[in-house]
Symmetry: C2
Amino acid sequence: MERSPLAPASFPDLPVVGGVRFAATAAGVRYKNRTDVMLAVLDPGSVVAGVFTRSATRSAPVLDCEAKIGQDSPDGAAILVNSGNSNAFTGKNGEIATKAVTAATAQAVNLPEARVFTSSTGVIGEPLPHDRITAKLEELAAGLDPAGIEDAARAIMTTDTFPKGAGTTIEIDGKSVTIAGIAKGSGMIAPDMATMLVYIFTDAVAPRAVLQTMLAELTDRTFNCITVDSDTSTSDTLLLAATGVSGVDVSGNTDFRDALERVMLDLAHQVVRDGEGATKFVEIAVTGAASDTDAKTHGLSIANSPLVKTAIAGEDPNWGRVVMAIGKSGAAADRDLLSIRFGDILVAENGWVSPSYSEADAAAYMKGDHIRIAVDLGLGSGRTTVWTCDLTKRYIEINADYRS
Amino acid sequence: MERSPLAPASFPDLPVVGGVRFAATAAGVRYKNRTDVMLAVLDPGSVVAGVFTRSATRSAPVLDCEAKIGQDSPDGAAILVNSGNSNAFTGKNGEIATKAVTAATAQAVNLPEARVFTSSTGVIGEPLPHDRITAKLEELAAGLDPAGIEDAARAIMTTDTFPKGAGTTIEIDGKSVTIAGIAKGSGMIAPDMATMLVYIFTDAVAPRAVLQTMLAELTDRTFNCITVDSDTSTSDTLLLAATGVSGVDVSGNTDFRDALERVMLDLAHQVVRDGEGATKFVEIAVTGAASDTDAKTHGLSIANSPLVKTAIAGEDPNWGRVVMAIGKSGAAADRDLLSIRFGDILVAENGWVSPSYSEADAAAYMKGDHIRIAVDLGLGSGRTTVWTCDLTKRYIEINADYRS
């Protein structure tokens, strides 16, 4: 598939995170002539935190990860991910396949099964050919490489048009702490299957509970603030692993927290930039809401509105649709206190179009590929920013014509 | 615009409802060479019930109707509707325009202003040229005709590709009672502007409170069970007027209630059949849910999922997307108790594809233009049916390219 017009120029140069090694291979799960399995192995002493899809029909690997994530262990850990088949809605066979993959991975890297986390992404409802994966585990274990993260990013792609990575190195008390992460996803879900998977690694020291709390809070402000099509995958998984190799304890350290948030936001934005059929990256900043929760409700109502998204695709500064999306969201709004801006252009205020508004200026603004819509509710101090992309004919093509 | 492929062959032959007269004219509110204002006048003794959009940014005419609807009056009533301009998000000017139109209508038909209900549908945020409407009121009042309902249905169209009407005559205690209604709408909302407006008339006798309760209950099972694009208008209005001319009191009469529900459902289905870009009429029947509310949550989650709707457009029996939409809805579901049918074809059960499932049979079924998806949750006795249409490139074209 053609690379998204919103893709970054190239995969970033990521720092090597001490205590993590990667390998990738082509197991032929579904795709031919490309890598489709990645293995990441974490040194002993690593801790792993995770957040998962809230779907009531979540996949066997997600259920397995959820059961394991809340445990401390002196052992290392492994993450094994395949693309091409999601092992979702596969009945009891799903558990059998997950068990087979985790058991074989545990044996290959000499870890207890409880320390092996797996994800699967791809077609729903077809049995996972787990023997193709397990047949490659010795090869994967033998090929582990601290610099292998880009290959790992490529192996987890499905309908993605580019591999997604982000990282940073910060100084804390004169010592370096590294963070590097990879992600895949190009719809919230798509047929065969644009689940969002994210794996982030750091050499920081952090107790598991600290890491879990930080991850949950930052996820709410990053990955939970993006939407491509309002649909939610049965397989979404986000794992954060800290190896502790840097020796720097980051409990309560806001510099680390900010750096992690930047990495998460960068990856989240890349998922939006690879949104199926996307031609515009759209930022929706909501301020003045009665609460932060209300701000997010309004923001996602605008971001998920097919009419707002098609207007942006058509480069039409159709602020009436933004008013509509605010009105329908269910959160508090007062028509006469609202103001709406497209970029720096004040579009509407006092319950009507602004006297300074020029349709020609707004139409010119909409030609850009980064659109910023700012809404102030005029009610309180609640605020949030969410991100989405436009809705184009290409989205329909990809999703109407893909499987059949 | 080309007539929807799902449109009925012609406008139905509607019964004349005693006590109501209609007129329509071309006032040039926005459109050229077509009618765009309709007036309906109800005889003294008529009662009017109504339900309205819950949008927080509802239009000036909606706010005015809401303020008037809860009152009894010995007078008749008038309904005045214009297309082309929604008079929504027009600040204080909106109230001024609504006041001007209601006052002029009241004068033309000799009623108090409190008995004049108005609706406006069309572009948001532009001042309503109310003088063009008021200039036509004498002409409208002079042209009132008991048989004018089809012309009225045409005058309220915006992006609709066909006029929508439904009606019936039933016998109660040896006397005839008639019901006839008209509707417009082709998206839940669209830019210039597919608001849903519905006006239903009957010659039954019913106290206002009885009529209002019945209307609210039936709306929940009819108009609130349809969706085109999940977007909600700032102007949605549904008025039900009973003239009492038949002399038949229908309080507590289930035959009348059933007949009214059939008329409402017929009109609701016509709105779906005129869904922007629609090529398939889709019925989603949910049973076995933990409650009726849960059933509706699941049904609308499926009906609003862009991935389900694009799969139907692509004639792809992609039941994995139905599983996804159930999983994300937030209502109770158990993966292993679910069953899914496309038409009579059992697709999935026991947490996996059915052993009897044939992709070829399902693909053949999807070629039809009336698609029925039945989901049983296996949890309880909650049930509902909702209706929608597919999501096609034409929807994007209409909404991305319309205003600019």
